[in-house]
Amino acid sequence: MTKRIITCTLLVLAMASCAFGAAFKIGGTGPLTGGAAIYGMAAMRGAQIAVDEINAMNAGITFELRYEDDTHDAEKAVNAYNALKDWGMQVSLGSVTSKPCEATAAENFADRIFALTPSASSAAVTEGKDNVFQMCFVDPNQGSASAQYIADKKLAKKVAVIWKNDDVYSKGIRDTFVEKAPGLGLEVVSETTFADGNDNDFSVQLTDAKEKGAELVFLPMYYQPASLILAQAQQMGYAPKWFGVDGMDGILTMEGFDKSLAEGVILLTPFNADAKDEKTVKFVAEYQKRFNEIPNQFAADGYDCVYAYCQALTQAKATPDMDAEAICAKMIEQFTTMTLNGVTGENVKWAKNGEVTKDPKGMVIKNGAYVGLD
């Protein structure tokens, strides 16, 4: 019932915004069904909240948001992108996951429709495209930042890495981490993988790490397999330091998760749902009210994307009657010069190649909540 009320409110809001005059048509694709649906749904919901807030502000700029399902597949993502193009999308939120976004980013580039992806983090997404930007850290940076962090804080000397062998995100982070580690005095003693279909049992990976004396296990992966790894390590009586990346965010909000398992897990993430600043508190409260869940970083990235657009479009004095190509030129100019303060970071800036610069926050999980490390 609440769902229906929300849909109705959204409809009314959408209609209301139409009545006030044209709105910018903003579209994105993401997995709304299938195994990766959690990421797509989160980004979409985050973006929707931002759109509703902006439309309600009467600040002279309104948005109309449309998300299409791409089932985490490049082919379907291009179809979804084309559907959005037919709808008249003026600025794009790219795709939520990396591989689909690589495919749609090529379309964005060819069609001159500006894209700012909330969470597609592989380097190939922005490579060679002047009008595709990222809201999240690019994977290689996460890998090297993690290695740097571990070395700087002297967390460990011997490190094990468990990564997902059929996943672009995991592989991207692992590559730079492993490359960077030796130079920083870290020794990668154990490196093991898993893939779809054998992602239930981690006894081999954990035994290997334990036998080789790893003091810290680096987990470049999403939180769902990570939760299994933590549970199985506890059963084995293996208690190294755990180090995660932004995909780990969300582990504390899994329904039924025993938070004590994640005690002491360190992760680099741009977003912290427990942060006390005004913006985050407001966003988290609204998200919880609507969807009865705590937002993860995908939702926060989606939310920030819409605010970034709001700021850029306002500053560029763009109007909804402009075509996508004209807006694209203005957006490239804005995004390479502007600074955004969002829920995923203060002083967010973009480089010419579309990569974002913001400070990853080192977090440690204490008593079932994030605590800043720095």
Binding site: G35, D208, A231
Partner: protein, 293 residues
Amino acid sequence: MIFLNYFISGISLGSIYAIIALGYTMVYGIAKMLNFAHGDVIMVGAYVCFYAVARYELNPFIGLVLAMIVCTFLGIIIERFAYKPLRQAPSLAVLITAIGVSYLLQNTALLLWSSNPKVFPSIIGRGAFKLFDGELSISHITALTIIACLVIMAVLTLFINKTRLGKAMRACSEDKGAAQLMGINVNATISLTFAIGSGLAAIAGALLCSAYPTLMPTTGALPGIKAFTAAVFGGIGSIPGAFLGGLMLGVIEIFAKAYISSQLSDAVVFAMLIVVLLVKPAGLLGRQTQEKV
């Protein structure tokens, strides 16, 4: 000692495959159809159990019984509306319909229970039996799964060999036409097979998610395929074969990860399957059917 530990891990994983494979093999043996939706019935069973235990704080055992009831009914409904009309159709048509049912269940689950992964509360806790001063440990859930497998195997074998209904099932499996002529209600027998298979799926779901406590709408899909592989490994249609096939598949998977390469473990598992089938074309314990000329 590490070798033994790996072996035990393999057995734990294998026992999960085995219990899923039992359902597959039972339905295949009688109805001669590959029920690709079996994995998704497992997922539904796990969700029912999850809600009963985590949300309504019922006793895990009651949750399991509830899940079995729901799954049995679900199995009967699926059979009635999706498979029964296709009794005379080519087996491929039924296979595709089963895949349709699998999509249907996954997407219904997505709408009902959202895509957020849930952590399944173990039905018997996370303890373990420690041997050799804790060098070796066998988790309670593994022990329970193996016991469950053995009990189910024994009950199924007794049921099929000793009861009238079981006899009817065997008759249907041998020759549907002849069974019909002997006054056996073939339709009802096949429906019963599905009901039992789905009830078993609920048990498998609860055990799968207790051993690997994560639950999503796609949870059943991939273990389903692995279990299907296990069933073929052991000789599809053979109940002890499913058990053996499941255990062996689990052990091979873990050993491949540990001693060959964690990256290629799936390739190794499937390569082993191919080798076994080439040597024994009907699986380990499968019956070699004589061709009638």
